[in-house]
Symmetry: C2
Subunit: 331 residues, 2 copies
DNA sequence: ACGATTAATGTAAACGTTTACATTTTAGCT
DNA sequence: AGCTAAAATGTAAACGTTTACATTAATCGT
């Protein structure tokens, strides 16, 4: 790989001048710019981002870190894509990692981000990781939180209004006349999961309906627990007439369970899920969902981070994007 | 951020010794190792991957580049996840990019990979990008191709046997008695797409059946063209009795088109798609597919790359993994 | 045409590591 | 104790940039 030095030698100028033409900055005489560029061209020179990042104290490194639980979840893929599009538009690359919500992995990757001196990192924190995330923030790394929040710390955050979303779903079920509504909730360690439960409770309270504690179960956001919990619910002596699943995987799991019992949807059991996904429309029946604007969450987070980088003393933003109730055929 | 120098000063040893304890290599007296470690601990020292990468000529940089068309396609997400799991197990981080199969983006990211001096890159090439990919390979960057191949170049590749997969699907349809079988093919610029078409043709030839050219249409792997082309096919005076869609998105598009016409599946039209995805089972009807072992493709590719890094003159591997015909209810 | 400004270019240090080589310390023998 | 070999540690250069500062070249007003 040719280096600055090679270009300097070939063009007959010093490395400083070459560096200047690369950075387009300062004043360099058009004729020398031209011959330097010719030299770069003929060598196939490409500046080393590594050397640049090492030396440069102030400027942008054009590298972002993103840590998501699992890219196989369409919601995460959407967020990632939103981030990436903004990143690419600004010539940033992104180091993307899967944490599986495991503390150990999250910690490892957080260290990688520091060690790579990325410009900043975007991630959804979970309860266990808070300490590690906080530490990184304190060390001065720009961070924006997505999808989930940490209480009591001043950091840019872009969330979805989970309580409104969940409440909208339940309101709709209640309006349909349902009164025995089950919730398959997510892990209590995740803030969005707690919020969705809050929305569920709020809807009941406002409608002056009692919550049957037997009807709320908590899973771990996977398809298999979704199915298992739905089966438990269906086996109750007095089963629910409607089920609200707190994320996409558990909704599909519940769908499977209902099909397995040969129950009709929505006639025998209504179903609604949190999170939209590309094939929700094509399910049997088309699944009603509350759709998070995940792509926009990603975009917004990335833009927020970029803004902060170019202007560190911007006030902290805590954004909350609105979910949308999409009614299809399952309720 | 504390540096080697800070640790050296605090511990009273030289930077060389500190470097040695970091790398666990060489012989350093247990007592000094201990005090150096204590110093590192108390400073919260983390070695800079950037400086390390700049200096070190031989060793591993523990950084991989991955360029995929679009992470929102579950197939890509699976591949990415397979790669990432192997990467993490070996303490590698990965720079993940979406190319949208656009030459410009692919070129940009390829440059980023070189400029970041990653250890190697994994990507599915497409026809337009071949030149850029070839150039990178010539420059000495370890590359492994996934999912698609480039003809005539000696480079590690892990593919899926697309012709066998497609042929298996068509064979099954023929066995079911279908004779007017349509194919919604992918872009000719993508090798896997051409191979799937080849499998389609091969099945016909072996069965001594003629192909009606009217029945093969080529789309661009998106859901909307899948639907549009399926509608065209259904509108034919003599429509097909079975449809084979060359990827997941187009299969779902076709499903939509068929539903829109209120045709029964598989009674009126049978449908089978290439690519499995988490909700194929829950579609209406559950979709039969030929499933690519995408996760394994990712794992294999990453392992291949790692192997090559530790042993550059390993013979070139061209692996072809077998797809699996998964029969559900759509044919 | 001459000195004073200003513009263009060059020199060298710095970023945080690794590593070849030099130096010092320790251990092993007699 | 004293010599030698081996082990431990230190010194300094290098990786490829950016950048403060120094130097040289160009421009301009008189």
């Amino acid at each position: 790989m040719p280096s600055l030095n090679d270009v300097a030698k070939l063009s007959g100028y010093s490395i400083a001048t070459v560096s200047r033409v690369i950075n387009g900055s300062d004043k360099v005489t058009p004729s020398t710019r031209e011959s330097v560029e010719k030299a770069m061209e003929s060598l196939g020179y490409l500046p080393s981002r590594v050397a640049r990042r090492l030396r440069q104290k102030g400027g942008l490194r054009h590298l972002l870190g993103v840590i998501l639980p699992n890219i196989q979840n369409p919601i995460n893929a959407e967020i990632a894509r939103g981030i990436e599009d903004i990143a690419y538009a600004n010539r940033f690359a992104v180091i993307l990692c899967n944490s599986d919500d495991k503390y150990e992995k999250e910690k490892f990757y957080l260290d990688v981000m520091r060690a790579e001196s990325v410009d900043g990192v975007i991630l959804p924190p979970n309860q266990e990781s808070n300490a590690a995330v906080l530490e990184v923030i304190e060390k001065g790394m720009p961070v924006v939180l997505v999808d989930r929040a940490i209480r009591g710390v001043q950091v840019d955050t872009v969330e979805v209004d989970n309580v409104i979303g969940a409440k909208a779903a339940i309101d709709h079920l209640i309006q349909l006349g349902h009164t025995r509504i089950a919730m398959i909730a997510g892990p209590g360690s995740i803030s969005n999961s707690r919020q969705r439960k809050r929305g569920f409770e709020k809807a009941f309270k406002e409608a002056n309906l009692p919550i049957d504690p037997e009807l709320v179960r908590t899973g771990d956001y996977t398809q298999s627990t979704g199915r298992a919990l739905a089966e438990e619910l269906l086996d109750l002596t007095s089963p629910p007439t409607a089920v609200f699943a707190s994320n996409n995987f558990m909704a599909v799991g519940a769908l499977e369970a209902i099909h397995k019992r040969n129950l009709r949807i929505p006639e025998d059991v209504a179903l609604i899920g949190f999170d939209d996904f590309p094939w929700a429309e094509s399910l049997d029946p088309p699944l009603s969902v509350v759709k998070q604007p995940a792509y926009e969450v990603g975009q917004t987070a990335a833009q927020l981070l970029l803004d902060r980088l170019s202007n560190p003393d911007l006030p902290i933003s805590k954004l909350r994007l609105s979910p949308e109730l999409i009614l299809r055929k399952s309720c």
